[in-house]
């Protein structure tokens, strides 16, 4: 551990918590983001795929990939920064977001389906 003293001082110098930036990283991330943005817009605006359901699934897939690309290339997320605590917080938040979104959609869909107005007025109280 004694040999790490110099790198320790360097880490204090840029005060970055383990973040590192490079022009190449930003350019690669930007190009990936442009492609991952352009394809969903093209799919929807040119009505390429046969069914809306398929289009929705595909563009949601592109969005998920693009979020990961932004996390890695723009937010510099990896398991090393802040000794892994940033990644842990991110995973926890991701789990909460999934539970909240999936739960809301699931519960409210069933609520909507069960509370539909009855079309036959005679059986209404």
């Amino acid at each position: 551990m004694s040999s790490t003293h110099d790198s320790h001082a360097d880490a204090h110098h840029d005060d970055g918590g383990g973040y590192h930036f490079s022009t190449r990283g930003y350019v690669v991330g930007f190009l990936l983001a442009v492609v991952l943005t352009a394809i969903p817009f093209w799919l929807v605006m040119a009505k390429v795929l046969p069914t809306p359901g398929l289009t929705a699934a595909v563009i949601l897939g592109f969005a998920a990939v693009q979020i990961v690309v932004h996390m890695i290339y723009f937010l510099h997320m990896n398991s090393k920064i802040e000794s892994g605590w940033s990644m842990l917080a991110l995973i926890f938040t991701g789990a909460l977001v999934l539970i909240m979104l999936a739960g809301s959609i699931w519960v409210m869909f069933h609520l909507n389906a069960n509370m539909m107005p009855v079309h036959d007025m005679r059986i209404r109280p």
Binding site: A11, Y26, T37, S86
Partner: protein, 212 residues
């Protein structure tokens, strides 16, 4: 640390001398960036709730206009391009900060701020247009959740732009001191985080909103 023995160690007279693996060389790192990341995660939860509300209400038009009638995808594409460009220009500002080039940082921050203002201008134009057409937030549950979600994102961009201007003043007055580098890093996370939220907005609200 190693000179003062803890009370329990002095109890055993014949025991071996205590060994301390913590030699005091390291200490807690600068916690601001981790704290700011935690703030962003809680902000992410706010957006998740608004997305969930939109997911529930997004098709409740109340016999009013739907996404197909209202959304102008070309405008949204321009907005997306502006925000994406502003992400990479902020990245260039961070690279300038890493190398200690102050004019470089200020120049790219200015470009980022202008792109942010362009984004806000188009969004305000879109909102004004919708309200003028009678499709304001009070028209239907769909429009209420739409304005809340997209408006909250726009409000974040507004405050991000204000913060960016403040930071430009600070950098030009005090230079690239460690405090300013730390602030630049926080705003970098904030700005890129808003771009991540926008991915969700343009996909889930606009693109999926115009699908039949």
């Amino acid at each position: 640390m190693s000179t003062s023995q803890p009370a329990y160690a002095t109890g055993g007279a014949a025991g071996p001398a205590p060994v301390f693996y913590d030699n005091g060389d390291h200490h807690p790192q600068q916690g601001t960036l981790l704290g700011f990341w935690l703030y962003l995660m809680s902000d992410c939860l706010i957006f998740a709730v608004l997305f969930a509300a939109y997911a529930v209400f997004g098709r409740s038009y109340a016999a009013g206009p739907s996404g197909v009638d209202l959304f102008d995808l070309q405008l949204v594409a321009i907005n997306t391009a502006l925000l994406l460009l502003s992400s990479i220009t902020y990245g260039f500002a961070m690279i300038g900060a890493q190398h200690g080039r102050k004019p470089h940082v200020l120049g790219w921050l200015a470009v980022t701020g202008l792109l942010g203002l362009g984004f806000l201008g188009i969004e305000l134009y879109e909102f004004a247009h919708l309200i003028h057409e009678g499709a304001g937030p009070q028209r239907s549950a769909f429009l209420s959740s739409f304005f809340t979600l997209v408006g909250t994102h726009g409000l974040h961009v507004t405050f991000g732009t204000l913060w960016l201007v403040t930071l430009m003043v600070q950098v030009s007055k005090h230079g690239l001191i460690p405090e300013n580098k730390r602030r630049l890093m926080c705003l970098s996370m904030f700005w890129h985080f808003l771009d991540v939220v926008w991915i969700g907005v343009f996909t889930f609200v606009y693109l999926m909103g115009v699908l039949p």
